[in-house]
């Protein structure tokens, strides 16, 4: 997988979904709030990446990797608000999140809107590495 520039592949995919030739240069741009994409567009981005590099990116992979090993009751309240434990997990993948700002205020459905281009690059990179390792085995 080292032969692929995953950051470039992700930026190409985002640009393709946006329908623009101009690649997003700011990796801190959020897919939803900054670039105006919707949930269905995220699926388009993942498919575009899959077409470019040998990696499998099902949507449930993305949602599961965001929650990690944190149990449901530890991740969010019954009202769908992310707990501090859940927020710590998200900060591992999305270090730009400010725990002080989001503690007790982040709803689960709002999580995808906080994912940046850079976060997606990092997650795809990890996934690609895992896929490569499993194919070698």
């Amino acid at each position: 997988m080292a032969q692929y520039d995953i950051a470039q592949v992700v930026r190409d995919a985002v640009a393709g979904t946006l329908g623009t030739a101009e690649l997003p240069s700011d990796l801190s741009a959020t897919l939803v709030d900054d670039l105006g994409l919707e949930s269905i567009d995220l699926l388009d981005i993942l498919f575009r990446i899959e077409c470019q590099i040998p990696v499998r990116l099902p949507m449930n992979w993305l949602s599961e990797v965001l929650q990690g090993e944190v149990s449901d009751v530890d991740f969010c309240t019954e009202r769908g608000v992310v707990t501090d434990r859940g927020l710590r997990r998200l900060c591992e993948l999305m270090p730009q999140l400010d725990p002080a700002r989001w503690s007790g205020r982040l709803r689960v459905e709002h999580i995808p809107s906080l994912v940046t281009v850079g976060n997606l690059v990092d997650m795809v990179r990890v996934r690609a590495g895992a896929d490569e390792a499993s194919s070698v085995v």
Binding site: F47, E64, L66, V108
Partner: protein
Amino acid sequence: MFEREPTILRVGAYSVDPARFADIVSRYPGAGPMLGVEPRDPENRAEAADPADRADPADQADAADPADTADSAKPADPAAEWAVKQAVLRALGAPIRLRARWPEIEVSRDPDGRWRVTSRGPVRQFHEAHTLGHVDVSVSETDGRITAFAVLTRDVTSVPEPLPGPADLPDRVASAVVNGPIDPTEY
């Protein structure tokens, strides 16, 4: 005597551009199964509503509420169907790990237009374990966008406060209730 009143626990809403949805589903063969919808040519909607195309009854055995799987169910528009799934997952307050398990939610419409939703697998398990309740769905189409609303309700029975029993009373009173009349001069 007592009225049963549905209490609204949570509302989930989701809006999608059906043209954008159809474009993605048509371009990627894996998109339909991943989203839990069957892509259809708009010209073939009448054909798709044929009873032969309905969900396999064997699959419906896994439904959360068997009463919600009427024989008369017919497929819904794929974009609307997916919007309903998204709205339902939001109404259930499903954790993020379950938010992309769209195939585990089955959506259909009755001939009278009523939406029916059933679930299976981990989504159903979550529903039963954490948010037991009924989900009502409505869908609107405005300005080229389809918006689904899912309302999670639970029936509560309005009953008056129960009269205190022995366990609710102070020891001496409880003892009196059990053993005989209370002597008012003791209090």
